[in-house]
Symmetry: C2
């Protein structure tokens, strides 16, 4: 039995329809989208348009030309952060962010001379609205916050932060890498100006996909200029979206898969997905709690977190433990810092990190039972 508990890194498996959509696209529909007027190019165009519509529908985005495909969430976050911030600007973020937020901000601190406040989350990884509010300066241009921690799954209060941002005329950017597809997100309701998502996690697309939504009135500089198939008379980047930010050939087969992934979510119902994942989290948590050698981090409150659980073992190296799970029992987890050093400092697990088990829609109770059994076996032998 292979047990995959690394869905926070990339979801596996994908729905069968995702595999089929990618293969179909590659074999029969894969002209260059937006480049020519012939049949195969139009088929590719249609795929891109369809996925853009699916995304718009899922996140309450009316103008789908504001949805820009990227190769992953990291590219989306870099575009949002670097495309927006200029010399003298101040940005607010939290200690729960992934390096895909922390590192671009650090680069800008060094090169462009911006200033950054990293609001400290509480020990459960939660970022209170008040703490954000108290960090606002006259030159605050951007608040960028993860919707949920990739280390402990804690969900942040984006509605409240969005409200605060709006009142203070600050641009609000959400990193929804861990939540898009698994939690309902409405960009209007949460007053999100920039939404960055990975396609290959809870949206069930393949690796190589992601996107950014950019609200009207938010003007970003592109990260990448190039051929857009439009305005080709000029050697300057067009102003019009989507072309302004989508240079070069898009990942059409990947985007076909992403569209199929979102279609699966809609068919299943995002509420049903959420309910199932809450039950799985409850089940895993209740069993882990019974093992007294474990220190479990985060809220331990299934309905306030994603199905991501981090823990350590008293008196045992977590790397060794993760290897034992993987090598002896084919239980796949992720051990270490999860590209989020400040998050581990916040929950007091730096620098040793944690063992992270992240479930997905296809995880079963039977797999959890087996995992618990194996954890106990390893502990007995130690």
């Amino acid at each position: 039995m292979n047990i995959y508990l690394d869905n926070a890194a990339t979801s596996f498996p994908k729905p069968e329809t995702v595999y089929k959509a990618i293969d179909l696209c590659l074999r029969y529909k894969c002209g260059n989208p937006g480049r020519s007027g012939h049949k195969l190019a139009m088929e590719a165009n249609h795929i891109i348009f369809n996925t853009r519509e699916q995304i718009g529908d899922l996140f309450g985005i009316l103008d789908i030309s504001r949805i820009i495909f990227t190769s992953n969430a990291t590219e989306a976050l870099n575009l949002g952060i670097k495309g927006l911030l200029k010399k003298g600007d101040h940005a607010i973020t939290s200690t729960m962010e992934h390096n895909s937020v922390l590192r671009p901000l650090h680069r800008l601190e060094d090169d462009v001379v911006i200033s950054v406040t990293r609001v400290k989350a509480d020990k459960y990884g939660y970022v209170p609205v008040e703490a954000i509010k108290n960090s606002i300066l006259p030159n605050t241009k951007l608040i960028v916050i993860t919707h949920a921690s990739n280390v402990v799954g804690t969900i942040n209060p984006i509605d409240g932060i969005g409200e605060t941002a709006k009142k203070n005329r600050i641009i609000f950017m959400v990193d929804a890498s861990q939540t898009a597809g698994a939690l309902s997100i409405d960009v209007k309701k949460s007053k999100i100006d920039i939404l960055a998502c990975s396609g290959h996690k809870n949206l069930f697309g393949p690796q190589g996909t992601g996107f950014i939504y950019i609200n009207h009135g938010v003007n970003l500089l592109p990260l990448i200029e190039g051929g857009t198939g439009t305005d080709s008379k000029k050697d300057i980047q067009p102003k019009l979206l989507t072309e302004r930010f989508e240079s070069g050939t898009l990942n059409t087969p990947g985007i076909a898969g992403l569209g199929a992934g979102i279609a699966f979510i809609k068919k299943t119902g995002i509420k049903n997905i959420r309910e199932k994942e809450i039950l799985l989290t409850k089940y895993l948590l209740s069993q882990l709690k019974e093992i007294e050698e474990l220190n479990i981090y985060g809220l331990s409150n299934p309905s306030s977190q994603m199905p991501v659980i981090s823990f350590n073992i008293k008196g045992m190296d977590s790397g060794e433990f993760g290897t034992a799970l993987s090598d002896k029992y084919n239980i796949m987890t992720r051990v270490g810092l999860h590209c989020a050093p400040l998050a581990h400092k916040t929950i007091k697990t730096f620098p040793q990190g944690t063992i992270r088990m992240s479930m997905g829609f296809f995880t079963t109770e039977k797999e959890i039972d087996f995992t618990i059994k194996c954890i106990k076996k390893i502990l007995k032998k130690k």
Copy 2:
């Protein structure tokens, strides 16, 4: 019959092994590469490593950590150009470049204050070494040249330009979007410091793939910072390659397909591919030349060009003609400026553009015969 003559935009079809490699990766091997130590992550690592080795082998690159995966050639070109050039630098390029070179350079002219010389190619689209040499200034930092025109297929003398660059201690960057996989390229022989390639053209990978090779001693700033799965304790980007430039989750299934594409090229033999494409070019050219209504641009010399032919029709709009080919006969070409405005100015087809027929390894003489018959039919009716 569907006749695909748009291979310069994206190759179609791909070898069967490419489709299979992608599906296999997605279904059985698609953990997050470089992020965890478990079985699926290691399978993904292995795929990434294997394709990197294939690329190294094909282009004579010994240190494969200098090969960085990107989502397309455009991202690779942006990384090379923007990662290198600083205020006060001078760059030399040609009028035959794609907007993926022209637009990033233009952006830097405006924002960073660099200067750019756009060397005029001759009317066949050829960029003489002498013209490059004559443009060198004391502050010239970069020469960036397309290996072959995407409009007329003319192959540029990269060995001579590389020699000149080396003598003058200038960094030499080649855009091999049109040639990688179809012409032999050896980075050492041609003294290439930076090589930018798309994966989805002659390398037979899927869309969403590309790469850049960065020679030792060439220090670029990353375009994108983020999680690298390494050095995670720090919120600054690691210095080590490949991680420095590969942030976020890579397109593992796409890279699996790219590896299979390169394996196909090696098995077939790049010389055999080139020979076949020269014969196809010869065959198509000889037949097109017999149609007196056509103005054919470029060298019309199969062994000095790629299998890309641009032409116009006396007294007929090329857009209308391309549409007729596509709608009536399912012959897929690309009409317009091909994202290369200065190239069309050089060959005197600006702003109307041309009809471009670009063949690939899977094009057949039978398809060419049918295409010629259809061209004649359309001309009769006009």
